[in-house]
Symmetry: D2
Subunit: 96 residues, 4 copies
């Protein structure tokens, strides 16, 4: 997949650990702390989803690790919604 | 549905009019201008989606009208993704 | 909105009542029973979402009522993901 | 990430290559042909999304490759929506 490894993309991630609503935020906070620790990506936290910009492959690795972290933090099912915009020309949905 | 008409909710809307990427933003801007014109809702524009907080029924009417506006502005297919968090206790995903 | 009231659309709905996983299906089953009871729409139940075809306005009313039913059945927060494809020419994502 | 590599999951993928609606299906068909060629996953094609069941890491690799294939087939932007249900106990949203 070397031809896509440097493809610009915008990827959003919403992680919903399957725990009571009052226990949700500590788990989500661990995921956000992880995303904040990643170098070389631009990101923006919203009410439902965190949007990231960077290389497609890097962002997909982050999504995978973020879901793993949510699971490790709660030990329950984790539901997630991911949106991907692959931008070969670099234009399209972007963080303001 | 009177029992749900004053139910607090957070609703996000991503509207993707089926037009070339360079024609996308004028259509999206019409949708955003409409949302900005609505009274009594709190909203936040993100890279992919606009998140709104208010009464569930009001927000669903806004989603419907926003999709209609996108269609009227482009005359093409319109794809949209909507996320809903119904919050009977008022807690849950919220605009910061 | 009379100009859009007979617009063909495909709309999917995923309803996730915020209850333990073992309590999820009775709530989802009430939602599905409601959808099954609606006249004049075509629908298909999938692992995550139920896809419906019909008039856009009718489908949006069904989404609203389905979320209300999920809330009434569980008394908790309800998360939902809705996808909309407005098809002015009648072509686009369709039930097989 | 060895601790999550055999985690059961259900993952859905909707791929929307940014091409005129009449050019959409040849691209989507290439993606579906790829998914059909993958060994050892269970999958179901719906109107909007294809749902797959298997190991979480394997499914995430499939998502990445499927998006790459859509891009290679159309040369344009590709939008995708991915839903993930991580099921440590093996229960939750499943293909019927």
């Amino acid at each position: 997949m070397s031809d896509i490894s440097l493809m610009p993309a915008t990827v959003s991630l919403q992680v919903l650990p399957w725990v009571p609503m009052e226990d949700l935020y500590p788990v989500v906070d661990e995921v956000l702390a992880y995303i904040a620790s990643v170098k070389d990506i631009k990101y923006e936290v919203g009410a439902f989803e965190t949007v990231m910009e960077g290389d497609f492959s890097v962002l997909m690795d982050i999504v995978r690790e973020a879901v793993r972290i949510a699971w490790a933090a709660c030990g329950q099912e984790v539901f997630a919604v991911v949106k991907i915009m692959l931008k070969p020309e670099g234009i399209g949905c972007s963080i303001a």
